[in-house]
């Protein structure tokens, strides 16, 4: 149970780039990926901004080199990001060690189902969407794309999904069930989610402004991000090179409301506190927080209050990177885990875009400039519908 867990590979595709290198460039140049909707077919094309991956389905198909009609945007994003992480880590899944794929998604195959659902009752052309509608599909696509995978499972806990996938990977290694895992999440943009968030009236029609007094809501994004994590034993066996260490994680429930966070951020406080306890760190030893920071009035206030509860008046440097990527739902926590690794590797803190005025109740001010500072530890928060609150802590090697 005391096995240390290392991140040894990262892969990511989102509005800010089709791979880690491109993403790093956008982050360093303060270039947001959020803009006008180009690929999604919706009557709200001109009403809302979104963080779309800048590739069409045909482009994505070419990149995965598989023209199977059973693949959808969700699977493409998952396969590409997971493959990048595997290549980056240098692991060989044929070496006899036990490899798991633990993925997460909320929208799954809905992006394709919504295109054909009504015609399915009349024509037989697209009945195969029935096979790819569920959440498990993209996970198995990753497993088959990478090959020689011993274990697969999928998690769906709304916007905290990928944090829970990362956490589960760590736990399975520590419990001796796996030697390493490819963990993360994916969500392609769909009409279903865009309209869903619209009914909740939490979409900003302009660029989202996390932690700003005048924030109006979130911008949806899409993407996939995966990490290869390995137990110390497996890593040593192959003389692999770690990128960062995962030293804390926790999952708690707000149990307050189906969609909203409690005003005092009770669940968030629990998750952060338990992750800190596990990492044996004092709150003052956290150098940077990558906040959930969606830009909705409710989340950012609740998360700010939770931060003050834990850190008192000395809240560490923090930012939400969702103004770069948009809120990518099930992929958010793994995208932010990749960003956290980039922060630790490059000692670069990526800022909170679009911020001008602190929230009245808390007065917290995020970092608004690219900062080159010593960062040894990163706390990353992810919260979701159903009160799901998860926190992860990463450490520099």
């Amino acid at each position: 149970m005391s096995e240390r867990i290392y991140i040894t590979g990262i892969g990511m595709i989102s509005a800010i780039g089709n791979n880690v290198q491109e993403s790093f460039l956008s982050l360093s140049q303060l270039k947001t990926g959020i803009g006008k909707i180009n690929h999604l077919t919706t009557r709200y094309k001109d009403d809302f901004l979104a963080g779309e991956v800048k590739l069409s389905n045909t482009d994505l198909m070419d990149l995965v080199k598989d023209n199977s009609p059973d693949l959808n945007r969700n699977s493409y994003l998952a396969m590409l990001a997971a493959k990048e992480a595997v290549i980056n880590s240098g692991i060989d899944t044929k070496d006899g060690l036990r490899t798991g794929v633990i993925s997460s998604t909320t929208v799954a195959g809905m992006g394709k189902t919504e295109l054909y659902y009504k015609e399915l009752f009349e024509k037989n052309d697209h009945l195969n969407v029935l096979d790819t509608h569920d959440c498990g599909d993209s996970t198995e696509r990753i497993a088959d794309f990478i090959g020689n995978v011993d274990y697969v499972t999928t998690i769906s806990t709304a916007c905290s999904s990928a944090a829970n996938a990362i956490m589960l990977g760590c736990r399975m290694i520590k419990n001796g069930l796996l030697d390493r895992a490819i963990v993360g999440g994916v969500d392609a943009l769909s009409k279903f989610t865009l309209n869903g968030f619209n009914t909740l009236m939490i979409l900003d029609k302009e660029w989202c402004k996390p932690f700003d007094e005048n924030r109006k809501g979130l911008n949806l994004g899409e993407g996939g991000a995966y990490l290869v994590i390995e137990g110390e034993t497996a890593l040593n066996k192959r003389n692999g090179k770690p990128l960062a260490e995962i030293i804390g994680y926790a999952n708690a429930n707000d149990a307050y409301h189906q969609t909203a966070s409690s005003p005092e951020g009770y669940g968030a406080t629990l998750a952060i506190k338990q992750a800190l306890d596990m990492s044996n760190l004092n709150p003052s030893e956290i150098d940077y927080i990558n906040m959930h920071g969606t830009g909705t009035p409710n989340n950012d206030l609740s998360e700010s209050i939770a931060s003050k509860t834990i850190f008192g008046e000395k809240v560490p440097k923090f930012s939400s990177t969702k103004a770069f990527t948009g809120h990518t739902l099930a992929a958010a926590a793994s995208i932010e885990a990749v960003i956290s690794v980039l922060t630790l590797q490059n000692q670069l803190l990526f800022p909170n875009l679009n911020f001008t005025t602190p929230i009245k109740e808390t007065g917290l001010i995020p970092e608004t400039q690219l900062l080159h500072v010593p960062i040894n530890t990163v706390l990353s928060n992810s919260f979701g519908f159903g009160g799901n609150c998860s926190s992860l802590i990463f450490k520099k090697i």
Partner: protein, 353 residues
Amino acid sequence: MVKAYINGIGCISPQNTIDDNWFFESITPPAGDYFNALEPSYKDYIAPNLLRRMGRAIKMGVASANLAIKQAEIESVDAIVTGTGLGCFEDSERFLLALLNNDEQFLTPTSFIQSTHNTVGSQIALIMKCHNYNFTYVHRGFSFESCLQDAMMLFNEGKENILIGGIEEHTPNFVELNRRANKFQIVPTNTPFWESTTKGIQMGEGSTFFALSKNPNNKSLACIEGVQTLYKPKTSNDILSKLNTFLSLHNLTLNDIDVTLMGFSSDSEFDNKLQEIKPIIEKESSIAYFKHLSGEFHTASSFALWLATKLIEKQALPKSITITGNSNGSIKHVLILNQYLGINYSFTLVSKI
């Protein structure tokens, strides 16, 4: 090795399992094209102000969780872990159809909110005011097995009481689409379900929750010794060799297994590997089946775990589920050997305490 003790079960299925005393006295055939769950009057389990928003999956989930907790006589749990392949499909479909029919206008949030896969788990947390660990697994035929696996890990990590459950619902439209895609069949009652030569599963649904504890108590009905999933095994020999390794971890061989509950689904292609294994297993253990009573669905193994527990509790193997053998009076170990779509295989070992 850590075990999980089952202290309470709530099972809503196509059979009368909601009545804890029911034990195959009367069997309900599918009412129409598929096995729909026999649902209770939910007012007995859920407050009306909550009930008004809930879709069937949520109602089934919350009610069966309620039953499991009551039977175990516990007030709180250290974790709530749910599994579902398609989540709250009724709400997803309602929102999707409204979106398509009204060209993305006049949509309301309720069905969108409920369509989230973790709705059942989070509703239970809300009702129980449970701030602890809350996970939802959504991986096809591994959805419920992942819950079990997680529970065993949580016990290993020091947790004491855990609520787990598998939930699945179907809608008439979904059944219709599966019919159009030739994915299901109705199996005539006098043909052996486990020797199917035709394509198509018999679709079912239901929700089964279990109150588990790390240590046995006077409520304990049976214990789960282990669970393992197997993704896309190439041959039936692969399954057998993994099964033997799995049993050896618990110092058992196939010969020690009194009853093997096999996940025949009535689809000849998906059942193929289990059909190949059956002659080997029947030399060592009685064989029973269950999907002719529950139908096939992503979390059908949660129904199988209810069944395994009942067999141990009653020490009887009813004729209506037996394929070969007779184990009445001597049921110590029950093995659930499940498969889903011929892709997701799993072993679950349940033992008498």
